[in-house]
Symmetry: C2
Amino acid sequence: MKILILGIDGYLGWSLANYFANEDCQIFGIDSFFRRKWVKDMGSISAIPIASMNSRIKAYEATYKKEMLFYKGDITNYEFLGSKIKEIQPDVIVHFAQCPSAPYSMISQSKSVWVQKNNLIGTLNLIYAAKEYAPDAHIIKLGTMGEYGTPNVDIPEGFFEIEYKGRKDTLPFPRQANSWYHLSKVHDSNNLQFACRNFGLRCTDIMQGVVFGFHGGPNYPAHRKLGTRLDFDQAFGTVINRFCCESIINHAITVYGDGTQIRSFLPLKDCMQCIKLVIQNPPEPRQYKVINQFANIHAINELASKVAGVCKLLSMEVKIVKMKNPRKEVEKHYYNPDNQNLKNLGYTPSSNFDSEIMELIESIKPYKKRIFEYSSVLNPTINW
Amino acid sequence: MKILILGIDGYLGWSLANYFANEDCQIFGIDSFFRRKWVKDMGSISAIPIASMNSRIKAYEATYKKEMLFYKGDITNYEFLGSKIKEIQPDVIVHFAQCPSAPYSMISQSKSVWVQKNNLIGTLNLIYAAKEYAPDAHIIKLGTMGEYGTPNVDIPEGFFEIEYKGRKDTLPFPRQANSWYHLSKVHDSNNLQFACRNFGLRCTDIMQGVVFGFHGGPNYPAHRKLGTRLDFDQAFGTVINRFCCESIINHAITVYGDGTQIRSFLPLKDCMQCIKLVIQNPPEPRQYKVINQFANIHAINELASKVAGVCKLLSMEVKIVKMKNPRKEVEKHYYNPDNQNLKNLGYTPSSNFDSEIMELIESIKPYKKRIFEYSSVLNPTINW
């Protein structure tokens, strides 16, 4: 099986390349190294140093005795993407090649336009390249649980059956996203849904919770250069990763607002396991299948307490501080999303986030000084 | 009152400038003349000749004794749009500056990307320019009834109250658009909804039916150079206008597929009347208000018969021919959209489409030869 990973140099992309290293498949990767640039734009670095792509590939091939074919390029360039998909003829295309940060998209007019344009055009190009050169490929696109917002009803997986004014239909579940980034994912979901219907493509659209942790799966850490990135700045550092980096440098754990906001979360290794299950269970041609991918839901306060609790076990004293929420978001709300689709495929969610958090803290411990040096990037200066 | 019309050179934009000529307001216009270029791309022309913008403005000022301030420019250029909104300080911004053709957007990968990029960036720029320089302005954005698709339940105006698994909420009504163009409108609707919530802007988002006819309102035809454009090619010619142009040159009226597809329609002068009502009834700050703007719903077959019937009255014999549908669309479906919001504002829908059709046929009669010369543009060669 040929798996093409778009955005292979990123947090999830590089983890997935490693996770599949011992599987019976060929791995192909495309990246333009934008993630490295964006984090640099934020004045930040990965908490755990990452190797260059050249070094990564050398380490990968030496460790796994398996070739990796990598192409540097930008998927918003259709000629580039089309020629690669034509050449590779992938069975599966995992689309991680997007700017994944809500705060980054909210910095300014130009960032807003850049993020939406980048994400939208990349996905449109992928749709046309697949239609033209690999119409049977299984497209796996990353959406986000944030597309749904926080409605006052249960959140199904993509679609719901409703009765309205005495008639019934199964309709896409309404999206109420809360940043230009999240909206770009909604746009892509809508575009892909149409592409399956009209062009006959097949797609699994993953509405993913917030991923945390450093250990992607069984192979890690085979080699230091095989580690993925771990961001902690206000734009690219997701909440649990950021809390852990704060803890390690004796910075207070900073909760935005009341901390009663509830979101869905999953450890990095669960994310890898889920994507493997998705790859093993492709949708039918013309099918646009949505899955909600998360292990559990938690209030931000609970996560702060979890991280502080793990720190205590490790004899680290950490304070939790509430700060003015830089984002306009509802802090008290109902939240009950479904994730039965993945469970039906065999996914057993990690119930123990504590051990994942401990593993993460152990991994970043050697880089305490490095994180401390860059600690100003933790401050939420982007208000929206 | 200062009204800024983005896309003032187009079918609706130029009609609106004329419709408001005798009102107590100042008219400002922006256009980049893209519509003229797109129709040229299709190898076509306006059935009724249109004047250059310079001639239009001269005729406008001479006829109405009223100044019109026009700026040539592209709203995807933020510096341009921002500086003009800062300078003008409009009370109302009517946003027509988009590529409005489904078939055009389906021609190719590059057209798909171009249309979505153009429409998305223009609206994002408008959002930021309004936030920065005219946060209290009433933004009137044109969406389309096509955003909703053809669900098996009634179509409300933007939002609906539902009960799902025992809980209630008012949610955006799901969109199921069927072309890259229609999807671009969905993206813009989602972006604007967020902009109202997060930036505190105020917006009326008009889900408009298919507009037809040539006479925008009471002022026309004060002067030949004040007429708006009237397209009939496969991409920019909307269905009734196209049927009338076919009839005038003794071409059969061409119905795509079975003709049982039901859509919503309104005459151009109803569109003008509705937009006036919308301008007179701005939403509250932070409010994102959706209205469905149409006079009536009809199956395509009914419209073909209507046009043929009017022709008969005018002693023109016209055949109706069904042809293979170039579009993948459901031909038999339920369709029951609501348009109560406009009725509540005082809108009385035109019940007599026949007289509108007759007026249109009379208007294009002098241009029979011109239309005949370009009749090849009627063929639907764009398949999707």
